[in-house]
Amino acid sequence: MDKSTIICRCEEISLEEIVEVIANGARTFDDIKRLTRCGMGPCQSKICNCLVAGVIHEQTGMEFHQIPLPRMRMPISPIKLETLATNSTTFSSVKSVLDEVELEDGKVK
């Protein structure tokens, strides 16, 4: 593998980028994800998970049982928002990030 080899094909993250964040202290899949977007594409790390564990192992010498799994969230596989919302009889209003910002004279406090 040379450093340009793609590890996360969804987000096109190369080996070089992953090695770099490991050098900066990343130790888990989720560390690497937060720093590079690795595993944040449509497959949600289903393909690159084992490759990334391999890179962590090679770079740090950590054993595979010391490298935790990435966090797996709902929905388990991609689903249309339209499908997800069907059958919902009551919609609660969505709280926007802006609701949390306190304004004073039209400006953020």
Partner: protein, 365 residues
């Protein structure tokens, strides 16, 4: 919206799920079987190779024949089939969200058997993302399920028993295999007969070798193979990678199950006891999700999970449970010690470790 109720929810209609469905439905339990595919049998459907090491009650047969047999034996029972449906996750109240791609509806089960199988692992090399590079299982699916020849000239990376099976099948449909590339010093496959067959039809097995690089514009057109100091180029339009398989864990993760690492079982595997029950009381597991093994063993684990769910729901007498468990464990031992002793040892070690799981909340970040 009120949740649909069921005694037993089985997630995955592959060999293990179907075996578990038979054990539970035949004892009068109300069974719901969900699978994202519209057909039953899971990966068996495209397996035209003869499956060795099936349980003693079975004649040797091909994967698709076994799939048909397992589906047929469910015909007499009233099972709620949710084929072409996906589990999308779990709600706070413990019900499961299932979608038919138009709606999402909740379902509540007394017991759940997770038989989600395994996924194939990738092998990375420069330009491995080019079209034409696929897993060995994908090549088999294209060929046997979709009747599409996946390429004309191929290399296979990895030398497992499955890779040997697919190499023979690809050759039969006219794909020229330029080589089987294995990074280790020996062939990984246990079935010496198959390896012999592969050699006999002139497929070179290259040990100590790897793919250095693939090239192509829009699709793979050549690969550099490295063996020791030698590097040469093969013109290919198909690269099949066999990086082994790992259990599919998303559903266990969502359910809050804990995991243990067993290299021989495919890496991270949910913790379970010898009743195939996870650390979540109502969640059982079966098949490759409980550790990668041979089809025969997958069936037996499905039967074991099924019987233990029957016991938990009082659908079977205590004597029958003990008797059934004992004979099935014997069967499992016989199959796995014959086909892959290391898997059997790893499974026992894994169950042994159930009492001492790795930090349960180590994934919370």
């Amino acid at each position: 919206m009120n949740a649909v109720e069921t005694d037993v929810l089985i997630i995955g209609a592959g060999p293990a799920g179907l075996a578990a469905a038979f054990e539970t439905a035949s004892r009068g339990l109300q069974v719901t079987l969900v699978d994202e595919s519209k057909s039953m049998g899971g990966q068996l459907v495209q397996q035209t190779q003869v499956l060795s090491s099936l349980p003693s009650i079975y004649q040797p047969m091909c994967g698709f024949e076994l799939a048909a047999h397992l589906s047929r034996q469910l015909e007499d029972f009233e099972i709620r089939y949710l084929l072409g449906h996906r589990v999308i996750g779990f709600y706070k109240d413990g019900s499961v969200g299932i979608t038919d791609e138009k709606n999402v509806f909740p379902l509540r089960a007394k017991k759940t058997i997770v038989a989600t199988g395994a996924s194939e692992n990738a092998i990375a090399f420069p330009k491995w993302t080019l079209p034409g590079v696929m897993t060995i299982g994908a090549a088999q699916t294209l060929m046997n399920r979709n009747f599409v020849q996946p390429g004309k000239n191929a290399v296979i990376v990895g030398s497992s028993d499955f890779a040997m099976d697919v190499a023979l099948q690809l050759s039969k449909v006219g794909v020229r295999i330029r080589g089987i590339v294995e990074k280790n010093t020996g062939v990984k496959a246990n079935g010496t007969e198959k390896v012999e067959q592969v050699r006999k039809i002139g497929i070179p097995i290259l040990l100590n070798s790897s793919i250095k690089e693939a090239r192509g514009i829009g699709a793979v057109s050549e690969v550099d193979i490295q063996q020791g100091e030698d590097i040469w180029t093969e013109k290919v339009d198909l690269v099949c990678v066999d990086g082994g398989r790992s259990p599919i864990l998303d559903i266990f993760y969502q359910l809050g199950c804990s995991f243990g690492h067993q290299e021989e079982l495919g890496g991270w595997v949910p913790q379970y006891n010898n009743d195939f029950q996870t650390d979540c009381e109502n969640v059982f597991l079966a098949g490759n999700a409980a550790g990668i093994s041979t089809q025969g063993a997958l069936l037996v684990t499905g039967m074991l999970a099924g019987i233990n769910v029957c016991a938990a729901l009082g659908a079977i007498s205590k004597e029958a449970v003990e008797e059934g468990k004992q004979s099935l464990w014997k069967e499992l031992e016989s199959i796995e010690t014959r086909s892959n002793l290391k898997v059997w040892q790893a499974r026992n070690q894994h169950i042994e470790k159930f009492a001492h799981p790795v930090l349960k909340d180590q994934f919370i970040s």
